[in-house]
Symmetry: C2
């Protein structure tokens, strides 16, 4: 056993306990705000189950890695709601956070996970494209299941615009996205 | 696209939103009870990062699948705390829950995930052994990070007894387990 590596891994795994306290704009079925840790679990499992609808073959282990770590930077940077206007400092804040957090890991894992985080952000591979699609679909499902969106109503046109990238990256799932948006409109969650 | 499959997958993925409302005995850093969805995220990432300490080579994608779904049955059966005395109906309740929940999926995935759930429960493979070890270590880490165990103090002797299987299944991680138990004793979390 490499006990120095293990010590650093445990420090990182202790630090990320904090992701359970990073709140998102979405809700849970019992009415509280969803946090980024449980969201990350949901998208990872969603990717596993929806693999057959990906636009091309993907390395599923890599997709899962991307999704399990994609929000870890929010421990320092907080969650930015997709529909907020001011997203200016988001990339800077998250890049600093990625450097601080992944630097807790042994060097080899630090490089791997920093690379994975960048890959997710840039949607540069089949895996990060599919992961981004899944990350974009989960909130739509969440709105329908919980019957709520943050503290009010959002514009269907804004949702459609923000989710339009899915049409390119996973055309097989675009019909689902359109159906979910229409269903939320019918329910009065989007207007 | 197989749209019938997609419809069933979405029904399942909607149903499991409820796992975010299944409370465990452990706490989060902000003092609420941890839920089984965020716990599942934590163990999945923990397995990824600690792979080198496994007792034998594992198929990591399978380990992750096991950990992402191992607690889903709690949607129907609830979480049973490891240190509760009465665990009589646990297996029956969870088996019924597994059948109901995974039956929401398309037939092929239903069989795969029922099989994975059984594999996790029986610790019959290298992957399920490693997954069980990780699932047993995460709470020890959680106690130390949050500084709490449920609503009080538990006996160090009980913890050691319940975690003893780790000594056999992952001897490389047993020293870590012993250290964490001693640290929680020193902090007054275990007595």
């Amino acid at each position: 056993m490499n006990s120095t590596a293990l010590k650093d891994q445990i420090i990182f795994l202790s630090e990320i306990e904090k992701l359970k306290g990073v709140l998102r704009a979405n809700r849970t079925v019992d009415g509280r705000y969803e946090n980024s840790a449980e969201h990350s679990w949901h998208v990872a499992l969603m990717a596993l189950l929806l693999e057959e609808h990906a636009n091309s073959a993907v390395d599923m282990l890599k997709v899962i890695k991307l999704l399990l770590i994609h929000d870890i930077v929010e421990i320092d940077a907080g969650d930015t709601w997709l529909y907020e206007e001011n997203q200016d400092s988001k990339l800077d804040d998250e890049t600093k956070a990625a450097n601080r957090l992944f630097s807790l890991l042994p060097e080899k894992q630090k490089q791997e996970y920093l690379g994975l985080w960048n890959e997710f952000e840039t949607r540069s591979t089949a895996e990060s494209k599919f992961a981004s699609v899944i990350d974009g679909i989960q909130p739509l499902l969440n709105h329908l299941v919980t019957g709520r969106v943050n503290d009010g109503v959002i514009l269907a046109a804004d949702v459609r615009k923000k989710k339009m990238y899915i049409k390119d990256l996973a055309p097989n799932l675009w019909h689902l996205v359109e159906e979910m948006i229409m269903e939320s409109e019918a329910k009065g969650l989007y207007e």
